[in-house]
């Protein structure tokens, strides 16, 4: 049996878990190639124009998978990974958008609801659907899940040690590392805020992370932050955002502002992203209070990348110059 997983959205956060889990159950896992012009176009043609680019990309990947000869497509419905909080409505309705848009795909889709206490979604109930649908024995199911969870936790620990989610996944799944090591001649550290599915999709973010790394910039992202440090920031707010990953981004943003090692913050957001329209404004208002350079990069399905190159170069140059000045004591 082959199960397909679209290389999009939370793939970038949970792929190690899903891959190991299905493989432990003796199922072949098929994923789509990196997002390409073709895949984005598929998504754009088959979705409502106002959707944000990551969701369009997901729909593109989904259609691509249908052509790749898989038996089922794993398309979980993310509802909540923290009590009282939710995902963006588009995540919660994503399986519905897809199953009502294309005839006959519903039988092929595996749509378990994801409810969890925290971002470790390896809870038994989230994977019980395999027993109901395919008669996997509870024992085998739990065993596979346990192994998968262990790998995923390693993946997270690797991120906490300072690797981006992508580097961590590559290392855990034993792929050749394509990490560019910064030479640290002129250490600039930038906090990059963005959802995993924007930041690590090389097409959507136009490889922003690697572009920065190749400019001798070391970066810090939300997945490198300890949960308790993030929570400390959130406690200061009178009311949290009720989307878990947005909350993490906001908390990471404030920690970056307070962190003296971080020289500037770049917020990568998709055109039309609802949660980001709120948290971006809050961070923008506060960036002046903390006197930290802050830049928003808004991505969509267009692919011209020169403007991006120019903007991040200018941003990094500005920071370098500022640091040089302070060193000279000017």
């Amino acid at each position: 049996m082959k199960i397909g997983i679209p290389r999009s959205l939370l793939y970038f956060y949970y792929y190690p878990l899903w891959k190991i889990y299905f493989e432990e159950l003796g199922i072949e896992v098929v994923t789509t190639p990196d997002t390409s012009k073709e895949i984005i176009d598929l998504g754009v043609k088959n979705s409502v124009p106002e959707l944000c680019v990551p969701v369009k990309a997901y729909i593109g990947h989904f259609i691509k998978l249908l052509d790749m000869g898989v038996d089922y497509i794993y398309a979980p419905r993310f509802v909540s990974i923290l009590k009282g909080q939710y995902f963006c409505p588009k995540f919660m309705g994503l399986p519905d958008m897809i199953r009502h848009s294309f005839d006959g795909v519903e039988d092929k889709m595996l749509i378990p609801m994801i409810h969890a206490q925290n971002d470790n979604i390896a809870e038994y109930k989230n994977f019980k659907f395999m027993e109901e649908r395919f008669g996997v024995s509870p024992k085998a199911n739990k065993l596979a899940l346990g192994k998968a969870e262990k790998v995923w936790l390693e993946f997270r620990n690797s991120s906490l040690r300072g690797h981006t989610a992508q580097e961590a996944a590559d290392m855990i799944l034993n792929k050749p590392e394509n990490h560019i090591t910064a030479t640290n001649r002129n250490p600039v550290k930038i906090g990059v805020l963005g959802y995993v599915y924007n930041l690590y999709d090389p097409y959507i973010s136009m490889d922003l992370v690697k572009k920065l790394q190749s400019m001798d910039v070391s970066i810090k992202t939300f997945e490198m932050m300890e949960e308790k440090d993030l929570n400390k920031q959130l406690k200061k707010m009178s009311k949290n955002l009720f989307w878990t990953f947005s909350d993490k981004l906001l908390a990471a943003g404030y920690s970056f502002y307070e962190d003296e090692e971080i020289d500037g913050v770049i917020h990568v957001t998709a055109f039309g992203c609802g949660p980001d329209s709120m948290l971006g404004k809050l961070l923008e208002i506060d960036s002046t209070n903390y006197a930290k350079p802050f830049m928003t990069i808004r991505v969509d399905e267009h692919s011209g990348e020169n403007h991006l190159q120019t903007r991040i170069e200018a941003f990094v140059d500005m920071i370098k110059r500022k640091k040089m000045k302070t060193r000279r004591g000017a």
């Binding site: 409505p89 009502h100 609802g274 971006g280």
Partner: protein
Amino acid sequence: MKVSFPYMGTTIVYKKLLELLGHEVIMPPKPSQRTINLGVKYSPEFACFPLKVIMGSYIEALEAGAEVLVTSGGHGPCRAGFYEQVHRRILEEKGHTVDFIVFNSMFRDFKQFYSNIKKLKDKNSWLKVIKSLWLVYLMINKLDILEKEVQRIRAYEVKRGETTKVWESIQKDFDTVRNKVQVMAAYDKGRKRLADIKTYEVKEDRKLRIGIVGEIYVVMEASINMKMEELLGNMGAEVERSQYLSQWVAYNALPSFINKTHEVDIIKAGEPFIPINIGGHAKQTVGHIADYGERGFDGVIHLMPFGCLPELVSQSIIPKISQQYDIPVLTLSIDEQTGTANNLTRVEAFIDLIRGKRMKKIS
């Protein structure tokens, strides 16, 4: 306390409630071009349109001297639950000092709900509060009955614009009531005035009925949705909205186990399409379209703010519902662009199409 609130729909009822409790109410002006401009200027660029309009309303209300803003809150997953936080920050940044009283669901945090009520209650007795609430609820109900009549009559009025004028003056009458007897008197007077409007006779099989569904703010607030109800009425179509204040109140004030309102059925009708609550009114939108389809409506206009998260999900599903129930649906996304010609053309074309479909059925 000088109190104000966001402008939405028949605002006299909120005003009445606050007045009955002895507060000085600063009426926010009806959203105008200036309101929208102010809102757009200070709001995040990609925030949804209601946030921007309400931002503008708040600024205008503060200019008029408001000290406290009463609004609703929420806990997601739709952005509306976070409005007040963003508004508060922006107003602070702009240098205003203002208090917010935010009503979140009383089933979630009763303590806060209670303390809010107490703030508004001031020195009034609980009996007075309950009496006031009851009177306002009666008013909402009566106004909604009249409004539904207005939406029907407008399609057939002989003198264009008469119904709208009468409706405005009915609202003015309601604005002055102080007790139940006066509410009933205003209601009877309103009924009579509506009945006096001269209308054309239209054969039953020629009547067009259009439902309006979508996000509550753009559906309810005529000044920002190109006066959609009037527009459709003037084109000769009866209109029904998915949202009326009385329904909203009844649905939200009752705990789920005794909740037998129409909204419950609507949500059930939406279940096959969106099984869980994904925030906002997506499920209601979907359910209402199915409901209108079953009740034999001729078409549905779906209104949403640009980029509205839940409504994008319903918009994605609409083609399927439209097919299943054989009911045409036109989605219009509303934002600060005020050029109406393009939407107008689309609505006209939509009505023509529906009328054509109807004629085919008759012949």
